[in-house]
Structures are given as structure tokens and as C-alpha cells.
């Protein structure tokens, strides 16, 4: 027994051949008489081989660029935001204003079937220029004229997306607004029913209480419906305003907090450690639920501020994947007459990429303006 206490702590060193001769001899003598020591030694050997052979975690493909950007004091290089991410309610208002102002006189025969619920600020700006009824828009026209609806699929990076993309987001919004001399309007603009069953959210969202709507049409692979859709009576302009908040300049002390800055509430977070192994798509509209989800995804970190009166969070999990390099993200928002379809994608490592065999459970959280229609998820 005394020998066991003395010898067993040496077994792992014996297994790797690191003992000096005298201790090595003692261990070998002990192994002859102690079955437990032999078993333990075997386990150490297997453990050592297992650890040595453990797959090497593959870093994000842009690791080098990120490091160099940090060193040079520049914001993180980020993939360009997907076109729909550049959409904001008041950019839409501005775009719609363009259409109203410029297209209306050219299309006198159109009769609006839906009276658009224009934001007040927007109405004030446009009412002096337009005969009543004012809102005579074509969503197709909007999409084409504002040029937001062309590119759709852009490969996204698999690593974390920090809110720097909101810089572009905010700038683009600012440009759109400034160019049209329209105040940032709060809320959504209803679209003309003639204008179509399936247009991207870049166009507009009708501001109708969900309860008044008929059941959602079924679509491919519906995953779940929004459990708490409310009327989007409250404006969603906070999304744009918060996104326009100045991004902290990367100083060494503040760098870590950029991704979770309270000023930037409209954002995306992602990772590879989802607590669920199954695929999941969910719209989070409850602050408490979001808090719980956040704690499960990023334990110990303070949840970011999300204004759930005007925003919601899309929580996606890709399920368990065999290697790093997988990501899950919202790819598009599609508005149908009676529902909003949130398209999402699970993307794997780029072809030809060598990845370690290391199980991952990718997830992403994406803040979106709070939908005013029932929501359906569709995996593309």
C-alpha cells in the first residue's frame, strides 16, 4: 500500500518514458506485483495517445487579418453585411418616399387597395407634395428603384461577426436618408397588395396586428411560428439609431467590449458552443427568454441591450457538426401577404478547406426589427 502511494503518481511519467533509471526500476518492480498499477499504466498510455492525437482546432480563416487589423488599430475586417441587413425602416421610408414622389405621377391608373400606414414624420414630409390618397406605391418599384434588392447571396464568414457591420449599416442608412431629405421615419410602410406575394423585407412590412391575420401559409420546412407576435405599433427606428451610434475606437483596453457595446443593440453574435445538439430556429421576443438563451450561449457575460418593444432576436442553432468551419445565419427575410418568412442557411467549410475533426455546435443570434406578421422559418 505504501508502495502504491509512492509509485502510482509516477506511472504517467513512466508511460511517457520520462523517469530517471532508479525510479523507473522501482515502478517496474511495483508493476510486477500490482494489478491496479498495470491497469492504471495502460490507461495513462491510452490517455497520452488520445491527447496527442486530438484534432487540432482550426482557427477562423480570417484569423491573420483580424490580428493585423487589431494591431493596426483598424476595425475588424468583416464580411459585408447581407443586403437585407442594410435595410432599416427609415431607409425604407426614404426609399418609398422616392417612389411616391417620382412614380406616382407616372402611374395615375393605379388604385391603392391598402392605405399605407405611413409614419407621421413621413406623412408630414410628403403630404404637401402629393394629392390624396398619398400612398400609391409599387413594392417592385421600390425594390428596383432603391437598388437594395439585387444581390442576394453573399458568402459569409464562419467566424464571429462583430457589430462593425453596423457601421456600414448605419452609413448606408444615413446616405439613403440624406439623399432624399426625409427625416428618419419611424415604423414600417405598408405595401400595396398588388405589389406582390413575395417580396423581400427590404421593401416594406405591413403594420397590422398579427391577430387580424389568417393563418400563415405553409412553406418548406416550417420550424416554428412566432409565439408572441405583437402589433408593431411602436416604431422600429431604434434599430437604425442604435446602429448609428459611434463605434468605439479600438484601443487595447476597450477592444474586447466592442462586440457587446450597449450602444450597439442591433447586432449579430455567433459561436460554436450551442447548448443544443439539434437544429433550432426561434424568434425570441421575450427579454427573459433572451436573457436565458444568452446565458446558455455566453455564460457569465452580460446580455446585450435589445429593445424588445421594437426588436426581436432570431436564434439559430445548426445542430452538431463534425468539424469547425460551419456557420448558421439568417440569409433573407421574405415578406408574404400574411407572414414573414425568415430564411436561414447552414454553411459548411469552403471546398478544399482542411478542417480538424472537432465537433462544433454553431449558433447565431441576429437582431431584427420586430415583425408585425406571423413568422415562419425556412432553411435554404
Amino acid at each position: 500500500m505504501r508502495d502504491c502511494q509512492k509509485i502510482h503518481p509516477l506511472l504517467s511519467f513512466y508511460a511517457e518514458g520520462e523517469l530517471p533509471p532508479d525510479e523507473k526500476n522501482q515502478v517496474e518492480e511495483h508493476l510486477k506485483v500490482c494489478a491496479e498499477a498495470r491497469r492504471e499504466l495502460e490507461q495513462y498510455r491510452r490517455q497520452r495517445k488520445t491527447l496527442i492525437a486530438l484534432p487540432i482546432p482550426e482557427p477562423p480563416r480570417d484569423l491573420h487579418d483580424r490580428i493585423m487589423s487589431r494591431l493596426r488599430g483598424a476595425p475588424q475586417p468583416l464580411p459585408k453585411p447581407h443586403p437585407w441587413l442594410t435595410w432599416t425602416p427609415w431607409a425604407l421610408a426614404a426609399a418609398a418616399a422616392l417612389v411616391v414622389i417620382f412614380l406616382h405621377p407616372l402611374t395615375p391608373g393605379n388604385k391603392p387597395e391598402v392605405v399605407a400606414q405611413l409614419p407621421k414624420a413621413f406623412e408630414e414630409k410628403t403630404s404637401t407634395n402629393l394629392p390624396q390618397p398619398a400612398a400609391q406605391t409599387s413594392t417592385t418599384g421600390v425594390g428596383q428603384n432603391i437598388g437594395l434588392n439585387t444581390e442576394q447571396t453573399r458568402k459569409r464568414d464562419t467566424s464571429d461577426r462583430l457589430p462593425n457591420q453596423q457601421m456600414a449599416f448605419a452609413k448606408k442608412t444615413k446616405r439613403a436618408t440624406k439623399g432624399n431629405e426625409v427625416e428618419p421615419a419611424a415604423g414600417y410602410i405598408a405595401k400595396d397588395q398588388e405589389a406582390e406575394k413575395t417580396k423581400n423585407l427590404e421593401v416594406a412590412m405591413a403594420n397590422q396586428p398579427a391577430a387580424a391575420l389568417p393563418p400563415a401559409e405553409s412553406s418548406n420546412k416550417p420550424m416554428m411560428m412566432n409565439k408572441a407576435v405583437q402589433s408593431a405599433g411602436a416604431p422600429a427606428a431604434d434599430l437604425a439609431l442604435s446602429a448609428a451610434a459611434p463605434l468605439p475606437q479600438p484601443t487595447e483596453g476597450a477592444l474586447r467590449s466592442i462586440g457587446f457595446s450597449k450602444e450597439i443593440s442591433a447586432s449579430t453574435w455567433s459561436g460554436n458552443n450551442a447548448p443544443v445538439t439539434a437544429e433550432k430556429a426561434e424568434l425570441v421576443t421575450d427579454p427573459e427568454v433572451f436573457k436565458q438563451d444568452w446565458q446558455a450561449l455566453r455564460p457569465g457575460e452580460t446580455p446585450p441591450d435589445v429593445d424588445f418593444t421594437t426588436q426581436a432576436v432570431v436564434y439559430l442553432a445548426a445542430g452538431q457538426q463534425p468539424t469547425p468551419g460551419y456557420s448558421v445565419h439568417v440569409s433573407n427575410l421574405e415578406e408574404k401577404t400574411e407572414q414573414l418568412v425568415i430564411h436561414y442557411k447552414v454553411e459548411g467549410p469552403a471546398a478544399g478547406t482542411t478542417t480538424a475533426q472537432l465537433l462544433t455546435r454553431p449558433w447565431s443570434l441576429q437582431v431584427i426589427p420586430k415583425p408585425s406578421k406571423p413568422v415562419q422559418f425556412q432553411k435554404d
Binding site: 490517455q47 495517445k49 492525437a53 491573420h64 487595447e252 459561436g271 452538431q320 463534425p322
Partner: protein, 184 residues
């Protein structure tokens, strides 16, 4: 390389290229979280950049960078409460036709171990078991058994004595063996 790195951008970028994967790999092993490892990796090179002029060459450059990585990883661990918890392991996969991790690891007799159905979980189990070790033990085990540093290098990287390193390794390995008992 140090002289080149001190001279300016191309040289320092070369240093980054030489060590970035190592730093990410080690910080990932320490933290078991890709996002945190990415943060730490970036911070390590900021620190290297700032402190390179004070590097005296008393240890190798890689050991010095290991030391910074260990230090910043420890800070990252401190900054996130509750992260010491062992992750809930995924349920076993039963997919057929997958060549699993265990299929690639030869046993001591040279035979292939056939536990492919459980292989996927082994990675998670090891990561979780490592994460559950006290940080001091985890660092020593990772640097020895996964990074293959010798005891002296580990002592320099962790700023402690060789005897302490050996003790931590022995205890860490024993704890790991207990946690992975069903797999070994």
C-alpha cells in the same frame, strides 16, 4: 525574427504568421471556446507587439509567447464567471459509416480501436474534462501532453518551478484519467 519584428511591419507580420495558429490552438485548449480563443489570440499579439522590445531572449520566443498566452487566457477565464462548469455532453451519435476519432487512434498494441459510434463524443468528453481541471493543472497538461513542451519550457511559460510543473502534470493527468475513465 525578433530583430526583424522590431524593425517594422513586414517583420512583425512574419512573426504573427509564424505563431498565430499556435496561439489560437493553445488558447482554445485553455478556454474551450472559439470566440474567447480568438479574442485572446488577438490580445496576445497586441501584447507581443507592445512588449517585444523588452524580450531578453532568456527563454525561446515561442516559450515567451506561450507565457503570454497562458497569462491572457487566465485573465479571460477570470473574466467569465460560471465558465468552469463542465459542458453537458452531447448524446451519443449512432450514425453509420462515419470514421470516428477512435478509428484513427491506435491502441498500445497497434490494433485499431473500434468505438466509432462513440467517437464524436470523445472529443467533447476530452474538451469537457480538460475544462473541468483546475486551470493550473490544465495549463500544465496541455503544454506537456498536447504541445509537447519539456518541463523546463513549461516552467518558464507558467513562471513556476519544474517540480511544481511535474506535480501539476501528475495531478492533472490523474484527474483527467478519472474523468475519462469510461473512455480509456
Amino acid at each position: 525574427m525578433v530583430r526583424e519584428a522590431l524593425a517594422g511591419d513586414p517583420g512583425f507580420e512574419k512573426l504573427v504568421r509564424a505563431y498565430e495558429r499556435m496561439v489560437f490552438r493553445v488558447s482554445f485548449r485553455f478556454l474551450n471556446d472559439e470566440t474567447d480563443a480568438l479574442d485572446v489570440t488577438q490580445e496576445v499579439f497586441l501584447r507581443v507587439h507592445r512588449s517585444l522590445a523588452q524580450f531578453r531572449g532568456e527563454s525561446s520566443l515561442s516559450t515567451w509567447i506561450y507565457a503570454i498566452t497562458a497569462n491572457l487566457s487566465r485573465n479571460a477565464l477570470r473574466s467569465r464567471k460560471n465558465r468552469g462548469k463542465v459542458q453537458v455532453l452531447a448524446p451519443k451519435e449512432t450514425g453509420e459509416g462515419r470514421e470516428g476519432f477512435w478509428d484513427k487512434v491506435a491502441d498500445p498494441k497497434g490494433e485499431r480501436v473500434t468505438r466509432s459510434a462513440e467517437s464524436g463524443d470523445l472529443n467533447l468528453a476530452i474538451q469537457a474534462a480538460l475544462e473541468a481541471l483546475p486551470p493550473d493543472y490544465r495549463e500544465a497538461v496541455v503544454l506537456r501532453d498536447m504541445e509537447d513542451l519539456d518541463y523546463q519550457e513549461i516552467a518558464e511559460a507558467l513562471k513556476t518551478e519544474v517540480g511544481t510543473v511535474k506535480s501539476r502534470i501528475a495531478r492533472g493527468r490523474a484527474m483527467l484519467r478519472e474523468k475519462l475513465r469510461e473512455w480509456l
